[in-house]
């Protein structure tokens, strides 16, 4: 029997999270059982039920975490303004004229 993966949205507006899966002969029964196993405790506002065969996985670390090139230019952590800012503030304070 086909496997259906089940995604739950816990609260309105939140991301859908993978909760697990069910087996069922067709979509109708998959819905019935997804509700039982992933919704009967009122733990989801919405549920997506997706045939496993529709899911394509990417897991190659060379694609997802390529090691060679420094990509810190795309991250917040790749920028450190502290020292430069201190120097700039110092210069501004030094050249300030009293009124």
């Amino acid at each position: 029997m086909p496997v259906f993966e089940v995604f739950q949205q816990a609260r309105e507006g939140k991301a859908f999270e993978h909760g697990g899966n069910v087996v069922a002969p067709d979509a109708d029964m998959a819905i019935l059982y997804a509700r039982e196993f992933y919704g009967r405790r009122q733990e989801a506002r919405r549920i997506w039920v997706v045939p496993r065969e529709c899911i394509v996985e990417i897991n190659d670390p060379d694609l997802l975490h390529p090691p060679a090139v420094d990509r810190s230019y795309r991250t917040v952590g790749g920028y450190s303004v502290r020292d430069t800012l201190r120097a700039t503030r110092g210069a501004v304070a030094g050249s300030a004229q009293p009124d």
Binding site: V3, G20, V23, M29, F37, R52
Partner: protein
């Protein structure tokens, strides 16, 4: 995401890398390469767990009918329902490792695979229901917590779901025991009598003291703690709670050794445990028979669902 089963001859370097990976906290998904021994070990472990959840339903189901209040009836129904649900979740995990649910159910019914000792024993009164819901569940949760970080990620995730869902089970069980211990003399006697019968199975629950070095489930980090640690944790948590209700634990040797920092207890008969889990418990045959009959009677329904012509 079908589990790949490697050929018998495995590259030792690859196996070593795998072992290093899991032993340092690394995770494995259902479609990943894994040594055959690992796959078999996880499958066996999860299959026994699934069997236990399913067989655990049978001691309790007749008491759903007899529950003496509306709230108890609802709570017990929900608890048992969760257990069936957990069996389903666990069989699903095991199935993705290469054994069909049908084959697993058939092996269970044929007595070829095991399930936890506690579910081989009879229940005689409503007090049994209370003791099981409290202490058997507590012992189980102790084990389950040690699986939350299992190297086999689908199992770890299922355990997280199971632990969350079971949070009310112990509370409900404890509520029943405390209520009865605060009730009539007849009720108190019933609870003490039930505890007298369930104590040894509870001591057996976490399994015989296997040497940690020989435990393959520990080796592959399928589980995180050895049996004897789980038992000690269970004792430390629950013995004080049992005693404060005015109950007596039927083991005159039981005491906490402060020097060794562990609980000392009468060595239970480990042969009894072996006999029970290999299918010779007092209620083993009865319960398997009930399931066998029900399974056979409903084969036509499964054929309808699976689309198999009669």
């Amino acid at each position: 995401m079908v589990a790949t089963v490697d050929t018998i001859v495995e590259d030792p370097a690859r196996v070593e890398e795998f072992v290093k990976h899991v032993q340092s906290g690394g995770k494995v998904e259902s479609g990943d390469w894994m040594p055959e021994e690992y796959r078999k070990q996880v499958l066996r472990f999860v299959e026994m767990h699934a069997n236990s959840e399913l067989m655990g339903v049978l001691p309790e189901r007749e008491w759903i009918n007899k529950a003496p209040t509306l709230k108890r009836k609802l709570a017990l129904t929900a608890k048992v329902q969760d257990e069936v649900g957990h069996a389903e979740l666990l069989y699903r995990v095991a199935e993705d490792l290469g054994k069909t649910r049908e084959a697993m159910l058939q092996d269970l019914l044929d007595g070829k695979t095991k399930f936890h000792n506690v579910f081989h024993y009879p229940t005689y009164s409503w007090a049994d229901v209370a003791i099981i819901a409290w202490l058997v569940d507590a012992a189980a949760i102790q084990s389950q917590k040690a699986l939350l970080d299992s190297s086999y990620a689908p199992y770890a995730r299922t355990m997280q779901k199971i632990c969350w869902e079971e949070s009310f089970h112990i509370k409900h069980g404890y509520d029943m025991v405390v209520t009865m211990m605060n009730g009539t003399q007849q009720q108190k006697d019933m609870i003490q009598e039930a505890l007298n019968r369930w104590w040894v199975p509870l001591v057996h629950f976490h399994g015989p003291p296997t040497l940690a070095e020989k435990d393959r489930d520990l080796y592959y980090r399928i589980k995180a703690k050895p049996n004897f640690v789980l038992r000690q944790e269970f004792f430390s948590k629950y013995i004080p709670k049992i005693l404060e209700l005015g109950l007596t634990i039927p083991d005159p040797e039981l005491r906490f050794d402060t020097e060794a920092n562990e609980w000392r207890y009468s060595d239970p008969d480990w042969n009894e445990l072996k006999l029970v889990v290999t299918g010779h418990g007092p209620k083993t045959e009865d319960r398997l028979n009930l399931r066998r009959m029900a399974y056979a009677d409903t084969q036509w329904v499964r054929d309808v669902v699976l689309g198999r012509a009669a």
